[in-house]
């Protein structure tokens, strides 16, 4: 009971704040208390140059009146300031109070997905610094041509308490760690970069026992070296094979955002009104699951106090469901899926993805590559973006190879791929049996709010996608 002990809250206090939020006639209110401590360290030129620790704490009050939202927050956790925020948020409603009494119940945690006994936030600084130094040494010793290495470490421990006017209270501790490495390789005047990283809702032991900093460092260095040999990328429509893991960003951009409930209830998504219709090939079943253990995109409860869950978005090609937050559920009359998320107490919750992935199919990944006479194989990606309304999405390949006569031949330089969300999934003609989730570095932005997410995909073949290289043959 972190907040109860630190700020001397009793259930009666929460009830008083909620009653104030409802006093102008609103029909729902919730409180989101947050206390986040974080640490970030950076290595550059073999020196630890940056080290920052900080605390962000506050309380957000949200009030719903019909389809309208009032929001206010305070970074001072005193009763006067919280009551004041409740009064400001309450102004969205106009009328006599509808709800005479609020009773908040006990704890409701459906699962404990990240039982971290010793959070990284409390670990010795020396251990964290050593991870960076190890990454630096490993990347530099990978190849003589590696001449610059940057490595970053970040941990965060977020305590949250959500209390709602319908009586739910949920308190959670949310640890998060991340390690990333960037390497530059040089050969003559040719300079190329490679990057890798990983993490999750884990303790520091993960980087000692499961994935060592050397793994990320060598992978970053390897990518930079491969790029030294890369030729210009092709331009135009062609068959594209995506490798397993992080290339799952395809799903995040092509379908994930378009299935967030807010865009659909407003009918501004390219997927609006397509529920029950075929939007992907029969080989495709797409899941969003916020309840996977240890994952970066997972949460015990979402930021509105709803338990996270496994939501089937597309099943055998048929559109089955949307990602819901409380507001959308109230308006659409649907059940919560545990996807109401926010960046911090300063932000209103929105329907967001958690871990989004495509289920494995039957094909051997090697057979998939062998089936392509001429095309592109993408092993790694940078970021992506989507225009929800037109459905156009892009994602940028950071490591890709030409496929010629069923074999990977030359590496090619960075290129952006562009497609149309409701269309691209219908062109998936082979799905591998090698589903892999990403390593835990993804961050998703929407309406100015960033939240950690995960993606995953097996090897897949997309019959036709536009590749944005410079080589127009």
């Amino acid at each position: 009971m972190f907040f109860a002990s630190r700020h001397h809250f009793a259930p009666a206090d929460l009830e008083r704040y909620l009653a104030e939020a409802l006093a102008q006639g609103a029909d729902y209110a919730d409180l989101y208390f947050e206390y986040t401590s974080s640490c970030s360290l950076s290595l550059d030129e073999s020196m630890i140059k940056g080290a920052t620790q900080g605390i962000a704490a506050g309380c957000g009050v949200r009030v719903l009146s019909g389809e309208k939202t009032g929001y206010a927050y305070t970074d001072e956790l005193t009763p006067e300031k919280i009551l004041r925020a409740a009064q400001v948020a309450a102004r969205i409603a106009a009328g006599p109070s509808q709800i005479s009494q609020v009773n908040v119940g006990g704890q409701t945690l459906a699962h404990n997905l990240y039982p971290v006994l010793h959070p990284a936030a409390d670990a010795d600084l020396g251990q964290k610094l050593e991870l960076l130094n190890r990454a630096d040494r490993a990347a530099r010793s990978f190849d003589r041509r590696i001449f610059q290495v940057r490595a970053g470490y970040a941990d965060e421990l977020r305590h949250v308490l959500v209390a709602t006017s319908d009586g739910r209270v949920a308190e959670d501790f949310q640890p998060l760690i991340r390690l990333s490495v960037m390497a530059l390789a040089r050969q003559g005047a040719n300079v190329q970069r490679g990057a890798d990283g990983g993490g999750g809702r884990l303790s520091l032991e993960f980087f000692q026992a499961v994935r060592a900093p050397e793994d990320f460092a060598r992978e970053a260095a390897r990518q930079a070296i491969v790029q030294l040999e890369a030729a210009d990328a092709p331009a135009g429509e062609m068959t594209v094979v995506l490798g397993p893991g992080w290339p799952g960003i395809l799903l995040h951009e092509a379908v994930g955002h378009g299935l967030e409930a807010d865009f659909n209830r407003k009918k501004v998504s390219a997927f609006s009104g397509l529920l029950g219709r075929q939007v992907a090939s029969r080989l495709c079943t797409v899941i969003d699951d916020g309840s996977l253990p240890d994952r970066r995109g997972s949460l015990n409860v979402d930021d509105e106090g709803s338990p996270t869950s496994r939501t089937v978005l597309i099943e055998n090609g048929i559109l089955k469901g949307y990602l819901q937050d409380r507001l959308s559920c109230r308006i659409l009359g649907t059940a919560p899926t545990g996807n109401g998320r926010r960046q911090s107490y300063q932000h209103m919750p929105l329907p967001r993805m958690t871990n989004t992935f495509l289920l494995a199919g039957q094909d051997d990944p090697q057979d998939i590559i062998r089936s392509v006479p001429r095309g592109l194989y993408c092993a790694n990606f940078g970021g992506g973006q989507v225009d929800i309304t037109s459905g156009k999405f892009v994602f940028s390949a950071s490591e890709s190879y030409l496929i010629e006569d069923g074999k990977l031949t030359r590496p090619v330089r960075n290129a952006t791929l562009i497609g149309n969300g409701p269309d691209v999934m219908t062109k998936i003609t082979m799905v591998g049996h090698d589903l892999k989730l990403d390593q835990g570095i993804g961050t998703c932005g929407k309406e100015g709010q960033s939240v950690p997410v995960g993606v995953g995909i097996p090897t897949i073949k997309v019959e036709k996608l536009t590749v944005g290289g410079v080589e127009s043959s």
Binding site: S40, S42, D44, M47, I48, K49, G50, A51, T52, Q53, G54, I55, A56, A57, G58, E67, K68, T69, G70, Y71, A72, Y73, D75, E76, V88, I92, L125, G126, L129, Q148, L184, R186, V191, R193, A233, A235, G236, K266, V268, Q346, G384, Q385, D387, T389, S390, K392, V394, F395, S396, N414, A415, T416, L417, I418, T466, V467, G468, G469, V470, S472
Partner: protein, 445 residues
């Protein structure tokens, strides 16, 4: 805030820091969103936080907090000092020298008190008027993602152990609207917005609404284009992103790490002969203006590219020491981060041609009005982004195009800037007029 920042600096020095620097931010935000005429949300709140950087010799550490209690501020100081004892000795680390510190005199017109005085109902009404104008402008505007009025006013303070103490206020107001057009099964959205230091400086909401609607409407009927190499004209909104990429490439942090295609190019021709790029942190009313940067150095006007020749990188004290140059007063830091580099008002000097003249010079080409994605590699200059816009035929926009990419290499693209428009307008800290690039690859069918 400034008194408290100075107090934190003293606490840090007493705690063992050789040098200390404290930044403070305090602000109030307001936003109201409307959709289809109805109020969708209202948000109002104030917040404040301190960030601290300390040095122990040549080791540095930093911390931040929103907890202003005695224990909170003690923890702020202790964290930074604890970290500084653990980081590496870096011969180039340190605060600016005393003689480098200071603030530019004069009123930069960054704050107008009125931003906070408009009533909530009036703010909502501005958003409603913008959206109404969009919805009423054409029957094909069938829906809306909404419209919003947002305002912010705040104070920034900075104090350090070398005697600097300064503060300034800033206010901004903005209005935006996102209409959705639909015709023959195709749905397209676009937006327009206006930004000023007070609501009085905003463009009329009806103008924003109609302009946004026009932008959405002209996208209806978009098709993919064939893959080919053609001249590419960037509308100012798209051209601005070229300047954002250029900023990253002349950012001293990328330069000293050799992580920029412009590293080692000072004094060389890097752009077409008509290209002059300026960073001016002192532009009155500029959205990137400030009297001093985030380490207390006066901001200034820096010529980045003059007539195609690379004249200056943009630097803070650290990058300047690494490169053996002088700081350009471009230090920028977020409270939670270490010191970096940011633009003041960075812009491409306008040229003689009207946008129509530029389009008229193209027989067959692509007029880019929107870019999406992150396909810019600053190490190599490789450029490949998703694009939408209008196909130019015989000197005129002829039909809308989407789901295509444009690709090239930034080093080549800047050299290939053939024409620059006269239509420079600041809708943020970075701005460009219409720009024509000789040839790029459009990737489509």
């Amino acid at each position: 805030m400034l008194d408290r920042a100075q107090e934190i600096v003293s606490l840090a020095v007493r705690g063992g820091a050789t040098d200390a620097e404290c930044v403070g931010r305090e602000g109030e935000e307001f936003s109201s969103t409307v959709r289809l005429g109805q109020v969708e949300s209202l948000k109002e709140a104030g917040s404040r936080a301190f960030g601290l950087r300390v040095l122990i010799g040549r080791r540095s550490g930093s911390s931040y907090t929103s907890d202003f209690s005695r224990e909170g501020l003690e923890q702020l100081v202790n964290s930074a000092i604890g970290l500084a004892r653990s980081t590496s000795e870096d011969p180039h680390a340190g605060l600016p020298e005393r003689e480098q510190l200071g603030a530019s005199p004069g009123d930069l017109k960054l704050y107008e008190a009125e931003a906070g005085e408009l009533g909530t109902e009036q703010k909502i009404a501005l958003a409603q008027r913008a959206e109404r104008a969009a919805l009423d402008s054409d029957p094909r505007i069938v829906n809306s993602e909404g419209a919003a009025f947002e305002s912010f006013w705040g104070t920034r303070v900075l104090a350090n152990s070398r005697g600097f103490a300064g503060e300034y206020r800033r206010s901004t107001c903005s209005l935006y609207v996102v209409p959705v057009a639909c015709w023959e099964g195709q749905m397209q959205r676009d937006f327009d917005y206006t930004l000023a230091h007070s609501s009085a400086g905003l463009k009329p909401p009806e103008q924003i609404g109609r302009q946004a609607a026009e932008r959405a409407l002209r996208r209806l009927g978009s098709v993919k284009a064939a893959t080919r190499r053609v001249p590419v004209v960037f509308e100012p909104r798209a051209g601005r992103t070229l300047l954002e990429s250029l900023f990253e490439a002349v950012n001293g942090d990328s330069v000293y790490r050799h992580a920029s295609f412009l590293a080692g190019k000072l004094g060389q021709g890097v752009a077409g002969p008509g290209v002059t790029v300026i960073d001016d942190g002192l532009l009155p009313g500029g959205f990137g203006s400030s009297p001093f940067d985030d380490e207390g150095v006066p901001t200034r006007r820096t010529v980045v590219i003059q007539e195609g020749m690379l004249k200056n990188y943009l630097l803070n004290c650290y990058a300047a020491r690494k490169l053996g140059l002088e700081t350009t007063g471009n230090c920028s830091r977020s409270l939670a981060g270490s010191t970096g580099i940011g633009p003041g008002n960075l812009f491409l000097q306008p040229g003689p041609s009207s946008p129509e003249e530029i389009l008229a010079s193209v027989d067959e080409g692509f007029y880019v009005t929107e870019l999406i994605g992150f396909g810019v590699n600053l190490v190599t200059g490789d450029y490949s982004r998703g694009a939408a816009g209008l196909w130019i035929r015989n000197g005129k926009p002829s039909f809308p195009v989407h789901e295509v990419t444009i690709a090239g290499n930034l080093a080549r693209m800047f050299l290939d800037i053939e024409m620059i428009g006269s239509d420079l307008e600041f809708l943020g800290a970075v701005a460009a007029p219409t720009v024509k690039i000789r040839e790029m690859t459009v990737g489509g069918i």
